[in-house]
Symmetry: C3
Subunit: 322 residues, 3 copies
């Protein structure tokens, strides 16, 4: 894969957090902080993307991530095209590339891609023109970089540091792009105590998440945790892989008030959404004083604005003269 | 249900016309008049909703009402998100609330909700943040407030008064949110002579539409009427409830040129659309000189602009400081 | 059909290129050239359509043409409504007209219509208000005027002239709106040597494409050609009408490097997209140095901007005063 940064260190693409340096990550988080407006404040409106066209190519349905990218783009002045690409009519590699080239020829500057299969974002990075960028909005079980960034921003807002934090992730880690991207960004930013919690069959292969501890009992994993990230369970997969129905999963791995007391008193409870209340998390905990779940959503728009604005600034330097 | 107005009398929500005072209604109609542009004039463009995000949540398909809200929002400078929420994937109360909270966390300011079931708009009013508003774009058989307002604006434009008017509504009153909202707004604005016309089985329960006269013969009801509002028939319901097919319905209740002569010579013919031509209304009447049906559509955009602008002005006072 | 131009020669509608004079065509191409920005340049942004509302009514799915019109409209400042009108729920004439009247009443200024059946664009021209315009984005096998214009612009950019050019069109000419519109515009602009190439059963009736030569062997038709336009094949139709499967079609009519050598060394290879690579065209040719296929897409946005801007300028003169 080509580099995600240009020679001057400017952000060109964002398809994975793996390999991005601390400075690059921190720059995005700082910019995102400047764009963040809390609910009830007027949203940030700017012209950073004036004249920029963003195409959202979602091969996987996603109301919230799509709305987040859509608003982030438009609040910075971009034109947005949302393309309906049902997985059924999925074109093969070559034809997908023709779709991309067609949109490029219409002066599309940024492609936002979400796909349940692996490989498309990297493939596109290798094929788009020098003045075109690719952002992954979720790729298979591999990568969800803007989710990782919004998670990092949420933690930083409350903890002001990453070193020394105990971070627990609970659920189907094996198939989770959220867990992978979070692990990558936190590790680069200095977190060393990462705990992965889930049924044995849903913990990741040994060669992934290097340095993380693994737990099959949630009580062991969340003891003293500063951050607990609950993952959304996929019910069918859970039933198949771990032989757990909703009630059994909640009994074994659900986060309730009692288990919460094992964590640090200042713990942050996170969830990428949408939540299965009463399955992976108790409602009282999801809505309780330690939950920062809605802040994550708020930070998500800010992070996507920051990524888009950083990329647009880089693209400007690669444009052809009029 | 919480009040639709804030302490200062500013419009916060609009889910029903029931209980809104004459002054509040008149203020909306006056504002709508200032936004109205006739076909062939350039549409009004303003910045009243600059920085405002409107989310259209339509659980019921609706091309025209959705387009009307969409244009009203964008012509005043709002960002609009249209969410695809098919009734099949309808989430239960709790999860719907999570969707709302998620969009709130993305700095959505106004939710426009259309739903074939009852209860969601009021439920949301009780749960959204103080800086977020709810507008109903049609709720079950209960309420369609912007339709009621556009009907009132259309009548006011021609008649300059509401007191002393004879208003006839024809069709399936029992299941009609259009009839209920029209009756509420007209009654508050001073109309006392309201006639409900339809097959016995489709007239409303006795405890609704207080003070209205009921007719099962259309000739009796429209005699001398200043306004005749024809409702769109739902063919399946009509067949089931009143044992009438299209032709029989037209024979019994359809508005044709002959029946029209029973009304006042200056009668206004209204219809909320879309029309079943040849079923509830004859084409010559729908397109004739007494028809104001397209004016209703034109007024619809103006009324929705007025409601959105009034709500945005109120929200500004409830925002959190930067 | 009413004229597509108003008394002063201003463009009012565009549903066919047939009958448009050379001056009118040239004016559109000149304007399009001023709007064109190559990939990598910032897209043109203007206010020519400020205050204008464009409704895209697509009865036929079309990702690329719809995106092209959408971007063209928005980059000139229009509000765009995209209406979902699946062919299944296709309304009959009368009801379609009610939809149009409803959107007119919402101050829609321009309708962009794509339809697999014939007749709707002309029907609408005869029914819309004097301040409303109709643009065809593809009508049955009959007309695709903006495609014809973008083809002409692409040729003009490279050849600087139309007279004296040898232009070959290859494929299912009989059912092709692309071929018909190209033939019309090229003929008006001065091209006299037009060759139609395809299986006998897919060549057009004798009374169409007057003056064109017909070939069933591609080698005969493209000899010395300055321009070769390959059409997208419809596989089912090809199998049925000409008893050719993909491989056989490529063998008989596919454009490969060997056949390309029969054309002029400065030949332009064109295709309206989306391409069936390996069926009507070899990938090496589609992506080779003589291909202007992506330029066509780029010119498509510019041409649609030009048509919309010309129409908006005309509409301004037909507006009602405030």
């Amino acid at each position: 894969m080509r580099s995600q940064q240009d020679g001057a260190g400017g952000l060109r693409h964002l398809v994975t957090l793996d390999g991005l340096a601390r400075d690059a990550l921190t720059a995005i988080l700082d910019r995102a902080e400047s764009y963040r407006r809390f609910p009830g404040q007027p949203a940030y409106e700017g012209r950073e993307l004036a004249g920029v066209t963003v195409a959202n190519l979602f091969f996987e349905p996603s109301t919230r991530t799509r709305a987040s990218f859509d608003l982030a783009s438009r609040r910075l002045g971009a034109h947005v095209i949302n393309l309906d690409l049902q997985s059924s009519s999925r074109a093969k590699g070559e034809t997908m590339l023709d779709t991309i080239y067609t949109l490029e020829a219409m002066n599309t500057d940024v492609f936002v891609i979400r796909d349940s299969e692996a490989g498309l974002p990297e493939f596109l990075i290798d094929h788009v023109a020098p003045h075109v960028s690719v952002i992954s909005a979720g790729e298979a079980h591999l990568s969800h970089p803007t989710q990782g960034l919004l998670d990092a921003l949420t933690i930083r807002s409350h903890k002001r540091r990453f070193a020394g934090l105990k971070v627990a992730i609970v659920g189907d880690i094996r198939h989770s792009r959220v867990a992978r991207s979070a692990s990558q960004v936190l590790s680069t930013l200095g977190t060393t105590d990462l705990r992965l919690i889930g049924p044995q069959s849903l913990l990741p292969p040994e060669d992934e998440f290097r340095g993380a501890q693994r737990f099959t009992r949630i009580e062991d994993g969340i003891a003293g945790a500063d951050v607990v990230m609950m993952l959304r369970i996929q019910k069918e997969r859970m039933a198949q892989a771990a032989a757990l129905d909703d009630a059994a999963y909640f009994r074994e791995y659900g986060l309730d008030a009692k288990r919460l007391r094992l964590a640090s008193p200042s713990v942050l409870i996170m969830h990428p959404g949408p939540m299965n209340r009463g399955v992976e998390i108790e409602s009282a905990v999801a809505d309780g004083p330690r939950s920062v779940i809605r802040e994550q959503v708020n930070n998500g728009v800010a992070v996507r604005m920051a990524v888009l604005a950083a990329i647009a600034a880089t693209l400007t330097r690669h444009r052809r003269p009029l």
